[in-house]
Symmetry: C2
Subunit: 514 residues, 2 copies
Amino acid sequence: MYKNQNWFKNIILTANIAEDSGIRGCIIFKPYGLEIWENIKKNLDYLLKETGHKNFYFPLLILKSLLKKEYNHIKGFAKECAIVTHSRLKLKKNQLILEEESRLKNELIIRPTSEAIIWDSFKRWIISYRDLPILLNQWSNTIRWEMRPRFFLRNSEFFLQEGHTAHSTKTEAIRHCKKILNLYKYLIEDILSIPVIKGRKTNLEKFAGAKTTYCLEAIMPDGKALQIATSHFLGKNFSRSFNVKYINKKGIYKHVWGTSWGISTRLIGAVILTHSDKYGLIIPPKIAPIQVVIIPIYNQTDSLKILEKIVSKLIIFLKKNKITFRYDNRKNYRPGWKFNEYDIQGIPIRLTIGKKEIEKGNLEVFRRDTRKRKKYKIINLKKKIMILLKKIQNNLLKKAVKKQKDLIRKVDNYQDFKQIIKTKGGIVSSHWDGSTTIEKKIKKETSASIICIPSKSYMKKKNTKNVNPINTNPINTNPINTNPINTNPINKKNGRCIYSNNSSKQRVFFAKSY
Amino acid sequence: MYKNQNWFKNIILTANIAEDSGIRGCIIFKPYGLEIWENIKKNLDYLLKETGHKNFYFPLLILKSLLKKEYNHIKGFAKECAIVTHSRLKLKKNQLILEEESRLKNELIIRPTSEAIIWDSFKRWIISYRDLPILLNQWSNTIRWEMRPRFFLRNSEFFLQEGHTAHSTKTEAIRHCKKILNLYKYLIEDILSIPVIKGRKTNLEKFAGAKTTYCLEAIMPDGKALQIATSHFLGKNFSRSFNVKYINKKGIYKHVWGTSWGISTRLIGAVILTHSDKYGLIIPPKIAPIQVVIIPIYNQTDSLKILEKIVSKLIIFLKKNKITFRYDNRKNYRPGWKFNEYDIQGIPIRLTIGKKEIEKGNLEVFRRDTRKRKKYKIINLKKKIMILLKKIQNNLLKKAVKKQKDLIRKVDNYQDFKQIIKTKGGIVSSHWDGSTTIEKKIKKETSASIICIPSKSYMKKKNTKNVNPINTNPINTNPINTNPINTNPINKKNGRCIYSNNSSKQRVFFAKSY
């Protein structure tokens, strides 16, 4: 098994994605890692704007008194806050110390999430039904103090996309939550090639301050589950705590209904875990900072010149079609060294171009996902590249779906349950009676939690009619139509709780989680 | 005089650019304000990438021990730091208090700028001459505790673009500093339509930790100067403090030479101050979130339908040419109300389209900068819009240049100097003997500091040959060729210091500053 913790860290370092900063849980994003995030961001930002959301930016620092207003919210985040208490330093005997007089009367918290400050603003902005719905989004850096930090999966500082909305009716708010969840599903499956399971969290596992947390879960190849996106129906929890009311058409004051939802740089961790092999990463073409790398093979500078004539035509084509590329004609590195580098970084397509092949009108094309080389006629190459990028994108999803299927197991006996969780990992689909006490007992005894109560159609591809896949991909290639994923339908039949033997309405998914 | 402090705040609020957050010095960016910043960012990011820079992201929090390493650097920033001291809160008797056991051994500082953490990384990354130069850039949020916060001009939290480079030779580092300064000049004059003065700071005013600070200064219509961009030659200050050495070709260890440079959301403040009139803002077309607004004038829904046929053709054209627009057919607002709203927001072009005009094949075009209305034939309209956007962009710069010229005065007598600074403001060009003591005395007596020692060609348009103006503007319109600004050549002749009467080699620029 190559996918252990060291492997994961090692691939991030060697592929030049990120590195440790010396501050626990805080990483340095290298250009390659940052561009992957920027590409994810571009795609989602487009989808959010197309569905009526606008970007705001709220302050990094939140007053402690604001954070306190929603009781469950602060209870959930109190143990992972970075707290600012002073505003000045001074040098004393060559030591840099806090200036005690600069102690703040009101401590400030670096946002662990922005519900508090946003609901404080909703209070000012919402007066009547005409102001609703408010659909806002924020891209930001966020801090949650992590006890066991891990690259991307558990960073103390990470990039967060967080949406916040306010609605006049409950139905509209819940519908919005679900709409966003489907939009995330589209992003993660069609752009990141990671299959997800759709469902909702139990009361124990839901977001601090939410009524219901809808979620997408992904299973990593090592058998651990990863919460990859969440969409929270906040009910009136925040509107009551922050006293946000609107006047309805009849002139009556009503509390608004809220939602919040987010994804983060955790997605980069999911991409790495899902799409790597023993040679390194494989980046899905739709988010690849470099989709095609071109490497000339030459002995003398003369032959390089000949090759570069062909290359320059190719580059014009790539630019025109907005395919991101790198032309690597560095002299101080040998081709084999370069091949290895791009294997690790997971560049989807590698073209090598040598004098002899050119004379025959050929070019060698290497597909990173299948690791197959093939010679193509130069005249056919252009079309081929477009097709190949699509194929790679699809193939990565297909492979991931296959791995996922093998990692979901129905279990009806608690001894088996414990055994499987311990030895095989993956997701165990079992009956549960709905009691939080039982849920906690199972978690304590097995380390497996209920990652989600799967929705009926938890793996079916959602209708993404509202989304125009051509435009949603501002960075590259043509739309990719992945096949619907339709495996492992959930058993909705009644049964008996695996722990208590009480009656149960449906199976839920247990797993150890990241 | 409409451009006082209240006016400034008021325009930001009414144009829906930003608002107060309740935390001193921290603002909420509204979508319109954020988009202006995003447009500035897109343009500069493109320019930086084209000149070989790569984007990194370093942690928000910096170890106090790192910050301490460069003495002058920390001396300069010690009094404006947000300091994180604890990582957990707890609820006690309904109060939310710090958990004392979570006190950090090493306090963390929210970056006031990132030199310290970046030079700590350079130490790991730089080994030999082959690793040089390193050209990196970062887009981030940054905190400097402001005693007298002001929207955009002095926010405690602001968005910062900061570049950091390391070079093997002094010449190369200085050349890079100057190259970046010219790139900023291009951004600010050609994209933001704000004329700038190029020069360098005195030792008293330079960046904490720099050898030389090159700067661009803009004069706001109220006569105050605004430091709008800086580029620092760091010499070996940081490479010595952080022990960053490379092995040169002869195998000898040498300290590297450094630069750092930046611009910030302060630019938004400069745009607002420079390009507003009594009706509101005027956003330069190249950074306008909405370049064209289309308002239908109709009485009945029937006539709206007829108008919308014309409008839809127009919209296709605007999209094709990447002109950003809004079609405002809201029924609950009257045209006059809308006109006023777009006047305040400074949308460059307003098109009104009524049934009667359409029958004559006409459309009314309103130019926000000149406030002139004109009827155009619909068939000529498309070309006209492109030309008009260029004209508006140029005109805004021309107007600003004119205002600037009127605000620079040569003065050779200290009594006059004091009088002019006090009553008229603006920039006073006077001789100075180079002594920091005198500089401080003048500052104390008049509140005017030396904003810059202007370079020989301080107002001349720099050669921007390396820059392709078509591509540098990813967001809109054709390249705009502004006329070279060539006014007020500096008097390089020797003279006598206005304060000490000692000999002086050149005039310098004094002003009260933001």
